[in-house]
Amino acid sequence: MRESRTILGMRYGIVLLFMALYLLPLLYLFNVSMKTQFEYLANPLAIAESLRFSNFVEAWKLGNFAQYLWNSVLYTVTSTALSMLLSLIAAFPIARGYVKFSSFFYTFFLISMFLPNPLIPQFALMTELGLYNTQIGYILLRTTGTGIAFLLIVGYIKSISRDLDEAAAMDGCGYIRYLFTILLPLTKSVLATGVILTAIATWNDIIMPVIYLSDQSLAPVTKGLFAFRGQYLNNWPLLACGIIIVATPLIVLYAFLQKYIVDGALAGAVKS
């Protein structure tokens, strides 16, 4: 089936038009970040007169980004690691039917998506437990063994033969040892996807930190950037530097793990 030049041209035209909508904002962001406030006010659209990386140094200091980045790393690493551990513990017996009512549990873990927003009783509970405005409390809230990673691992374990369980058990391997020394290495690829999806969701979370981490010294980078905007409302060159400081780790990570991220997001969506 051959297609005419007009149609091919139209296809490129539409794709490139949308590409502009996604890439031009980033280019503009970078351009603004290289300007002085004076240059920006004089003409926001003009190309920056020179590369001025000192803007970043200033934003880094004024915005307290070192602290925020550290908090984000702490929250993301701990809650993602715990989530993977719990997801594995939940997924294996359910995928294999090693517990009664395993299909009930599977459905049960999906329904929270449709239930009323748990925000308010959850907040009351966390306050009651003394976990409001604590790092442990926020990490606990971001930890789950029943989310996207769980769904992905269940699907993956079903594709691993049961014979392996039986052979290992025959050789005297116990349940816990089997789970962590034999099964865990086998599920590496799907765990990697789970790690990425869970980590992105935690890293980018803004609402829960706003609710649960009122102390600014506990804020992750999202809440920190938001506060930075509130403080330097019209100093867009400085703000642009702040945005780039927060976005760069994500863009670098994405450049390397692009395939995992997109495939993983896809698998997660279709499973749920």
């Binding site: 009783p121 509970l125 703000l239």
Partner: protein
Amino acid sequence: MYPFGKGLSRYVPLLLLMIPVALYVLLAVGPSMVTIVFSLTDATGIPGTSWKFIGFDNYKEFFTASNASDQVRAISRSLYFAFAVVLIQNAVALLIAIIVNKRLRGDVFYRATYFLPVVLGVTVSGLIWQMLFNPMGGPAQKLLNVFGTQSNFFGSYDIAFELIIFVQIWMYMGYSMTIFLAGLQAIPKDLYEAGYMDGARGWASFRHITFPMIAPAITVNILLSIIGGLQTFDIIYVLTGGKFETSTLAFNVFAAAFATTTSDFGRASAIAMIQFVFVFAFAIVAMLYFRKREVEL
């Protein structure tokens, strides 16, 4: 059969499973259910204050209080938001997916770029668009000036809400596109060749081959965007903080509980229940309709 031993060790899997179950019940399902109870009380977020049951007063207040028209407008905005996102996001995503699916120079790069906002997250994406829609000489303002007009953008009662919808679609279009693309790539090529033999070209081939074959992807995308459209409010928080007539039901739950000095937990819970009714109704209707359609195709 369970191969790892008998007797007490038989209960190890269940025991371990109870850890994630406990966490899920305690922090997700439990609080969801208790929302019903909270909605019937006058509880506040102020520590140490007492509370009592007040029946359906929170619901009555929602529909009859002096600001009831605000609440009704929030409902209609929620529906407007959800419908706009469902229709536009999926239409654009399907169009791009079809274009990128065929051989095109640099297609991997296009796909990666459209997906980037999901990775950047709502705070970074939101601030980037605030910069572009900066009323003080931002690029969008310059463009309007060429046509002899101007706007306050996110500070305008007329279009702030539409701009939020635009940014939401900009952020998640790549996600929907990825799901459509996977559906498209699963269609066997010989189906099109067989169709071509039977005279199916262009639109006919799309209507009778592509469209039925990607029915599952359409179901997934529509369901995700309905649920997302009715539950999302972080984008509103970042872009306008609910000002300029941009608050939805989902945002009002958050605002009533956490963004006012009264922190009215009872009223916020009642709004959460009303929001739940909408999410549940639309999700069920959409699921039944699209699943039925999949079977008929």
